[in-house]
């Protein structure tokens, strides 16, 4: 076991785990976060995704000792008690069915829009294609992304726009 320092959602933590422990289990079991979830443990479905250095990363296959930058999880997207526009769009469009995969959908969409605020439909499909949903909420997720794009472009969520991983 080794002591590892982590910064998650703006807060610093020290955990005592094996170096190769996947980040996912540290986030869930040591830091009590519920956003990232086990879907496959293989980096195939995206349920475990978090944002590191602006990229949506599979926390299930990321050794905790390799994480050198701040980690943002689903819980860290809201700012000053306000949901991120992507999350708000998810509610407006009622995107989830069971919702278990939605952490990955939201995190992937957020990372996409941070890099490319005006993606085409094809770019949305491509960026989201590795994030799976077994309830098949995909159509709604894509609608919600388009809503979020519009809202963010309108600048009506100026506060929330400042939230950057």
């Amino acid at each position: 076991m080794s002591r590892i320092d982590l910064k998650v959602n703006g807060r610093s933590h020290t955990v005592d785990v094996e170096l190769d422990t996947p980040l996912l289990y540290v986030l869930r079991n040591d830091l009590d976060l519920r956003g990232p979830r086990f879907g496959c443990g293989l980096g195939q479905c995206g349920a475990c995704k978090v944002i590191i250095n602006g990229a949506a990363v599979f926390s299930c296959i990321t050794p905790v000792s390799s994480v050198k930058s701040e980690v943002t999880t689903l819980e860290g997207l809201s700012q000053n008690g306000r949901l991120h526009p992507v999350q708000q769009a998810w509610i407006e469009d009622q995107a989830p069915q069971c919702g278990f995969c939605q952490n990955g959908q939201i995190i992937t969409a957020k990372a996409l829009l941070d890099k490319n605020p005006h993606p085409t439909d094809a770019q949305i499909r491509e960026a989201m294609n590795g994030t799976l949903c077994r309830c098949m909420s995909y159509f709604r997720v894509q609608s919600a992304i388009k809503r979020a794009i519009k809202v963010m472009a309108d600048g009506s969520h100026a506060d929330a726009k400042e939230v950057v991983a």
Binding site: E18, Y25, D32, R37, W90, Q97, R134, M136, Y138, F139
Partner: protein, 853 residues
């Protein structure tokens, strides 16, 4: 008596605490959350830092008491307790809408607690798309009765007769035209909070209970019929929801299974020294062929399970053919049973080992009886061949159901067409991997699960562990999917058994490869069909012969068929036969022969190819065959496939299925109008473009719900890739309680059908399932999603003079015709008929080549 005496102490505590917590966070949650949301007691408890539960024993809430269903608080809010579960199709919100309407209380002043065996009455949980069709009625009657009782109390309080009173938002006042009208008022909370209703309802079972009050008619409902946002979504979006995977208890340890490397393997050795020195290692547990490891931390258990050295013997014969050989095997196998007459794909062929609540079997029989007489438009003939007894089976083997004289019709036909359809095993492959936490504290057993049937789980685990019923409780919490008999049940039994062995709370979770390989499968079907057309192009005879590979169909939470019981060797002696359902269409075809048979794999136990209920368990398979075949008949008759169907629905008949035919016609016409269908035979003339486009239609009933779907596809001639560019679904499930929520469910079910059409197939060699992850068991992805989806809610009775059509089930129906709609569209685009599911690129390409396209 105060409400805190009425309820277990901790519930009152957590409710109060939760309200405080809500106010504190109101700025965040007010986005669209109800006054207080749908969190379960345990979620609330965990969020508020309360201990997770009472020490037990856990007695059944009495469904005869209003107090078991409704609690009204001092602040004039209400909590509804219902014995169902909502894995994400919005039924919890619908229950609140209906109960708020019947009670006359504002929707946002209510909350709903679901599916925990010690808090809510046994309504089975969820399944069969029965939430609104069946389970909502007792809730409504109880709420209506509570309103009646409160009005009587209000009458005494205000000194005015009941007929001079009215209720608005849980406040009783005198009517404007009442004599001695005054501003006097009293709230429900003032009348009942802190006290019990103490009103006993009548009725022999939970579905039959009623008070004296009548429920409201549809036009009187205020919230039902409105698109109120689902109350579970905000907490799923902001990360605050506590799921079943999130429960943690002091002293909890982590378990992982070590599955046999091949089907029906016999464990010959465990080398515990291979893991003993690993950090956090606690124990290897084993009984029969069941093996699990327990460690302090989750990643430690995962490592130990992977590293544990075990040795196994193979069975003397191959447990099954390969997935490539499956249909050849099924073609030549000896059937073990035929389908029981009638059931056109009803979803609950295998109720739990105990009949669900007393009287439920009666309802079930009524339901299937209805289906038998009207579902397939045929009557069971009096001249059934004599039954032969197969010692393996519960049901006698018998011959086909025959209507008219199909042999004569075939011999005088102008044209005979034949086709054979193949639908492989398909899986739940739920996200997460099956999981559960079992807590053996205080000599009790509390199981936290996302399984949709918490009540049968309680009975099953009590029996499996040999514990008294009252010492076991099951707490339902949110989880992934919930499409039937998933492996969530297996994981819960395993967690409970291990917790009993080691005396600590045990969290069990299956890994991806376990879930994909070992979850229960929807049965594979092989369907042979023949049709006779007369010289006018009318389908005059029809021969449907289905074989399903479904010999050992595991039921819900059966202590003697759950996987751990199979592996430990404590399984039942005889397998439970599955079924091969009949088509559900209402076409007037005068001569029909219909036969459904079940075949089994060589080895039935301890195999990953075990069948169980998967969303519309035997609906999509026969519907794919039957609705593809109707298209083939239309093409043979050179008739537009939609008009061909309408003609068979409009033909005059002597039977009493006019109402179902009228609703069939209504959805087909609604889908046609929404799509902009142009009448012409299929296939359309094939041009030279690389991308070929076409459209197909299919329709079916599921229970009383009828669905018509149209797919427009693009087929890439060079790659064989199929993209469903546009989908239309016309859906009639009677009265619609929440249109937006229903559209959501229908849309996702439609896409689930698309996933099963294009991608899903369980693959295996002769000893193990080789579909083990999301690549070897592909499902629909973002890139597959149509450009446009139109959902048309046909909403009920074509006769406007009958406004009170009740709500029917909607959780599964839109999955059913999709496979055939896609296949028919591929044919329309290319002239190539694809009869094997799924329509992978290589198969489509082969079909195109065979058709010379």
């Amino acid at each position: 008596m105060s409400s805190s005496e009425r309820l277990p102490k901790h519930i009152e505590d957590v409710l109060v605490t939760h309200r405080r917590g809500f106010l504190k966070n109101a700025g965040l949650l007010a986005v669209s959350f109800g006054f207080f949301g749908p969190a379960t007691v345990e979620q609330v408890a965990a969020q508020s830092g309360e201990p997770a539960g009472s020490p037990g024993p856990y007695r059944d809430p009495d469904f005869h008491q209003i107090d078991s269903w409704i609690v009204i608080h001092e602040d004039n809010t209400a909590t509804f307790y219902v014995g169902t579960t909502d894995p994400g199709q919005g039924t919890g919100t619908c229950f609140r809408q209906l109960m708020s309407d019947e009670l006359d209380i504002a929707f946002d002043k209510t909350t709903c607690i679901m599916g925990s065996t010690d808090k809510t009455v046994d309504q089975v949980g969820s399944g069969g798309s029965f939430a609104l069709e069946r389970n909502s009625w007792p809730m409504r009657r109880v709420a209506a009765e509570a309103r009646r009782v409160l009005l009587e109390m209000g009458s005494e309080h205000l000194g005015a007769p009941v007929d001079q009173l009215e209720v608005n938002n849980a406040v009783i006042t005198l009517k404007a035209d009442a004599p001695n009208n005054s501003a006097k008022r009293v709230t429900y909370g003032e009348l009942i909070a802190g006290k019990r209703f103490n009103v006993t309802l009548t009725g022999s079972n939970v579905y039959a209970i009623t008070g004296k009050a009548k429920t409201k008619s549809n036009p009187e409902l205020k919230y039902a019929g409105q698109s109120i946002q689902r109350d579970d979504i905000p907490a799923k979006v902001d990360g605050s929801l506590k799921w079943a995977v999130d429960v943690k208890l002091p002293g909890m340890v982590h378990a992982r299974n070590v599955k046999p490397p091949f089907a029906c393997a016999k464990l010959t050795g465990i080398d515990e020294s291979s893991v003993k020195s690993l950090p956090g290692f606690i124990k290897v547990l084993s009984k029969g062929n069941y093996v699990a490891v327990v460690c302090e931390r989750e990643e430690q258990a995962i490592r130990a399970a992977r590293q544990l050295k075990t040795t196994w013997n193979k069975p003397p014969t191959a447990p099954f053919p390969t997935s490539e050989d499956l249909f050849n095997y099924m073609r030549t196998a000896t059937p073990v049973s035929d389908v029981r007459p009638g059931g056109p794909g009803e979803s609950e062929p295998h109720p739990s080992s105990r009949s669900v609540a007393e009287g439920d079997s009666e309802l079930r029989n009524q339901s299937s009886g209805r289906a038998a007489s009207s579902g397939s438009g045929i009557q069971v003939p009096p001249s059934r061949p004599p039954a032969a007894r197969n010692p393996e089976m519960r049901e006698p083997v018998s011959g086909p159901m025959v209507v008219g004289n199909p042999d004569a019709a075939f011999s005088s036909a102008a044209k005979i067409i034949e086709a054979e359809y193949e639908i492989p095993f398909q899986g739940h492959t739920a996200f997460a991997g099956a999981h559960s936490l079992a807590d053996p504290s205080n000599g009790q057993m509390t199981v936290y699960t996302n399984d949709m049937k918490s009540y049968s789980m309680r009975r099953g685990i009590a029996t499996f562990l040999g514990m008294p019923h009252d010492n076991v409780r099951v707490v339902w919490m949110m989880g992934p999917q919930g499409f039937g008999r998933s492996a969530a049940e297996d994981a819960a039994f395993e967690a409970a058994w291990i917790a009993r062995q080691i005396g600590r709370p045990v969290r069990m979770q299956w890994m991806r490869e376990e879930e994909t390989a070992w979850d229960t499968k929807g049965p594979a079907f092989l369907v042979k069909m023949r049709g006779a057309l007369d010289s006018g192009g009318t389908l005059v005879a029809y021969d449907f012969h289905a074989r399903s590979c479904d010999h050992n169909h595991v039921g819900y939470n059966e202590p003697d068929s759950v996987l751990i019981a199979q592996l430990m060797g404590t399984r039942r002696a005889k397998p439970a036969a599955g079924s091969a359902a009949m088509p559900s269409d209402m076409y007037a075809i005068p001569n029909r022969k219909m036969l459904g048979e079940v075949v089994g794999l060589p080895i039935l136990w301890e195999t990953p190819l075990r069948t169980g209920n998967l969303r519309d368990p035997n609906g999509p398979q026969p519907t794919f065959a039957a609705e593809s075949f109707i298209d083939e008949a239309a093409a043979a008759a050179k008739t537009d496939p939609l008009e061909f169907r309408l003609k068979m629905l409009q033909a005059s008949t002597q039977d009493d299925n006019g109402f179902r035919r009228a609703r069939s016609i209504a959805v087909l016409k609604a889908a046609s109008e929404a799509y902009g269908w142009d009448s012409r035979p299929s296939p359309k003339p094939i041009g030279k473009d690389n991308i070929l486009t076409g459209r197909g239609v299919a329709y079916s009933f599921r229970g009383e719900t009828v669905v018509a779907q149209i797919a427009e596809v693009e087929v890439n001639r060079q790659t064989g890739h199929v993209w469903a560019k546009r989908l239309v679904c016309a859906h009639d499930c009677g009265f619609v309680v929440n249109p937006a929520s229903l559209r959501h469910t229908v849309e996702c079910a439609t896409l689930h059908g698309l996933s099963r059409a294009l991608h899903e197939e369980v693959r295996f060699d002769t000893e193990k399932v080789t579909s083990r992850d999301w690549f070897s068991y592909p499902t629909l992805r973002h890139a597959d999603i149509p450009q446009r989806i139109d959902i048309v809610l046909v909403n009920g009775d074509p006769n406007p003079n009958r406004p009170d059509l009740p709500p029917y089930g909607a959780g599964e129906a839109a999955l059913k015709p999709m496979l055939a709609a896609i296949a028919n569209a591929i044919y329309d685009a290319t002239g190539a008929r694809i009869r094997r599911v799924p329509f992978r690129n290589d198969r489509v390409l082969a079909a195109l080549k065979a058709a010379g396209v």
